[in-house]
Symmetry: C2
Subunit: 428 residues, 2 copies
């Protein structure tokens, strides 16, 4: 049996998918037990030069060339974004086609709707490439670890910000400077917001947490903070204390079932496995009640790695089709997630501030922390010019509420000239 | 639909599996869409005290209580070893039952036979727990990475030897001393051979390589060397040069298709991801032609982690059964593996030797290396007492044949008092 694949979108991931299906066709046929052929490719711009070898007759700029072609079994949606991808995916499913995608935004925003449609139509819908590039994550989490209550999931899932933070750490340079270089190298977009403000990480966390807890996660429930406010000096202080700073995606379930979902920079102890995940590499650390700690590590983006994930999904769907069945996992029985009020979430904090260097100042600030319920573990004071000193406070675990109240109070405090940064501590 | 599971063997893994199925029954039912119940447990000794809570009426010492009970859908074979496990597994399959196991020796020695029987009977046979405890490995390798040609696979897959080497490294102590302590702590068996001589690692490599290359691997084709000959001094020298010593399982496919399979201690650069896998943790590093480098890390043994893998398999088989189908992946089309002659395998080497400390000695040894085709990268000489010096040679890549011939020649050389150790270098 020949399985026909239609590819929507021939950018980085679409091109990688096409090339891999061609290059490893023999291997894939052996492993699938059936032939997989790309029989249609839809792009926006037919005129664009593409460094790919394929039969030009397959190319069209009309999505109906795939969506309305009854001979196509699997649609690989590799356009990205919500519109028109959502529409295409739903139409493909309605037409009885299985769908494979790497579209994190689409799944984070409309995954539940699409999965329900796929369930109803009895077709496969898979999205391994949407998180962590080629690193197997969704499938191991959903299937291999299915016997576990996931207690915590913490990941570095955005290559751009990890590249920037790694470079800032190695070279002691500041954010804006490194961002400009990353843009020049093509590692960051001209508009870098999706990466550096944490949106991309947030979408991926929504997907992973949805799988881990077996129910849709709304991105509205995720606290999100990017890396624009991380300074070289924060990284330097952190290093002195034995930490590195990473942008983490974190989902945690309390013993009483309440869930925390957050994306923010965090100090991680240098000996934590995620602390050594550098450059564009990604890794996800999962703690299950039975399995303990497991970590998945690899290249989180790029044409070949993400192509590997998309092709892995295509192979699995093809195996199912060749054997005349859908492998779609029925959605779990509905059970609403209880999201913890963010103000109640407890973390440790690092606070770097510029203060008036005068007697009693330290006691004044410490008193505020104490009154608001923030207990301090350590203090590093540096760089006083006789007038202004810089202090780095490290707190014990405290609620977001208590820290927000302290910071609020500092606004009114003469001695505190500026709160330069507030960064959480994780992985301890 | 209720899925009935029979558990053969109630040791560490059997106990962990039973407990996890009980503890997370609600979660598992939600995720599976059907109820999974353990309806029979077979043990050798009915009288043995067990710290487990279960209905004593389920217990029997007669394997037929499971194998001949038509109401049992899934058999979890958790006895270990080849006999009688092989017989039980084949009988279960012949009776139309799906089988889940964590038995590495059985799969390494009889996997092909059992998989063929399962294919023919149309039942599932799964063995995620056989390698790496709870770390998802088999399934991601077989399914998520199916679009890749695996170029290399290198892993630390034996917790006992990793615990011993980690302790030797941290405390500068010698093998025998640390082994005795590991035995006292219960991390090593009274007869430690299966672990320290590399048999356990060899079985696991056979399983992983069989999946990676899509064809059965015979353990006869695996070069195997344990850690008994690794000395504190080797570890110390290695550290000075920026390496740690680990027992690695390694499978590599050349561009021309020839395969190397070996288990031996190896020097790994300290910055290699596997170099930081310590104590009883396991990790497997896989290089695919599309995905690049990916690594899987976690607890490689123990009742809960391995139970997690076994339960993951049971859940998957149950999902298939509830939907009235087998999820068994048909075996790949046969394609014989070409195993490289071990003498032709190229590696770098470290050779530590005691030599007569006299003029011309260094030149004499270097000449032998040169004549046999071993090119030297660096030399560290230490600890001369005026009579005997200790030298640590680090070679460039060379064949096993060339090194064997050099070592042979040293036997005849007066200047070489003793070749204390020969350890390969990997991960560069």
């Amino acid at each position: 049996m020949q399985i026909n694949v239609g590819i929507l979108g021939l950018g980085t991931v679409g091109g990688g998918t096409l090339q891999l299906l061609q290059r490893n066709a023999k291997l894939i046929q052996r492993r699938t037990g059936c032939e997989i052929g790309v029989t249609a490719i839809v792009v926006k711009n037919l005129e664009k030069a593409r460094p790919l070898a394929f039969d030009a007759a397959l190319l069209s700029n009309d999505p109906d060339a795939i969506l309305n072609d009854p001979s196509i079994h699997i649609v690989a949606e590799l356009i990205g974004g919500v519109a028109p991808a959502r529409d295409y995916v739903l139409r493909a499913i309605a037409a009885g086609k299985s769908v494979v995608t790497a579209n994190k935004e689409l799944i984070a925003k409309h995954g539940a709707e699409i999965m329900a449609a796929a369930d109803q139509a009895g077709v496969d819908f898979r999205f391994e490439g949407s998180v962590g590039g080629g690193i197997p994550l969704i499938k191991p989490l959903r299937e291999s670890l299915a016997g576990n209550h996931v207690r915590q999931l913490m990941g570095i899932v955005n290559g751009t910000t990890n590249f920037i933070l790694t470079k800032m750490t190695r070279e002691g340079r500041d954010f804006e400077e490194v961002l400009a270089q990353a843009q020049a190298l093509g590692y960051a977009e001209a508009d870098p917001s999706a990466d550096v403000d944490g949106y991309d990480t947030m979408y991926k966390l929504a997907i992973l947490a949805g799988i881990a807890f077996g129910a849709p996660v709304s991105i509205q429930d995720i606290y999100r903070e990017g890396i624009r406010h991380v300074h070289a000096r924060d990284i330097e202080y952190a290093r002195e204390l034995g930490y590195v700073i990473k942008l983490v995606a974190l989902a945690r379930q309390d013993p009483d079932g309440e869930i925390e979902l957050r994306v923010h920079p965090a100090l991680l102890p240098t000996e934590h496995p995620l602390a050594n995940v550098n450059d564009v590499f990604n890794a996800v650390f999962i703690q299950g009640d039975a399995v303990g700690d497991v970590m998945f590590y690899g290249r989180g983006a790029g044409s070949d790695p993400t192509g590997s994930a998309v092709v892995g999904d295509i192979i699995e769907v093809a195996r199912n089709l060749c054997r005349g069945k859908s492998g779609q996992l029925a959605s779990e029985a509905a059970h609403p997630l209880r999201i913890k009020d963010f103000a109640d979430v407890e973390t440790r904090f690092c606070v770097r501030m510029q203060v008036a260097d005068r007697p009693g100042m330290m006691a004044q600030i410490a008193t505020v922390f104490g009154e608001k319920g923030v207990s301090i573990e350590s203090i590093v004071q540096k760089k006083s010019d006789g007038e202004t000193a810089e202090i780095f406070w490290m707190s014990h675990r405290t609620t977001q509420r208590a820290m927000a109240r302290s910071l609020n109070e500092f606004n009114r405090l003469d001695a505190v000239r500026d709160v330069a940064s507030v960064i959480r501590v994780e992985g301890e």
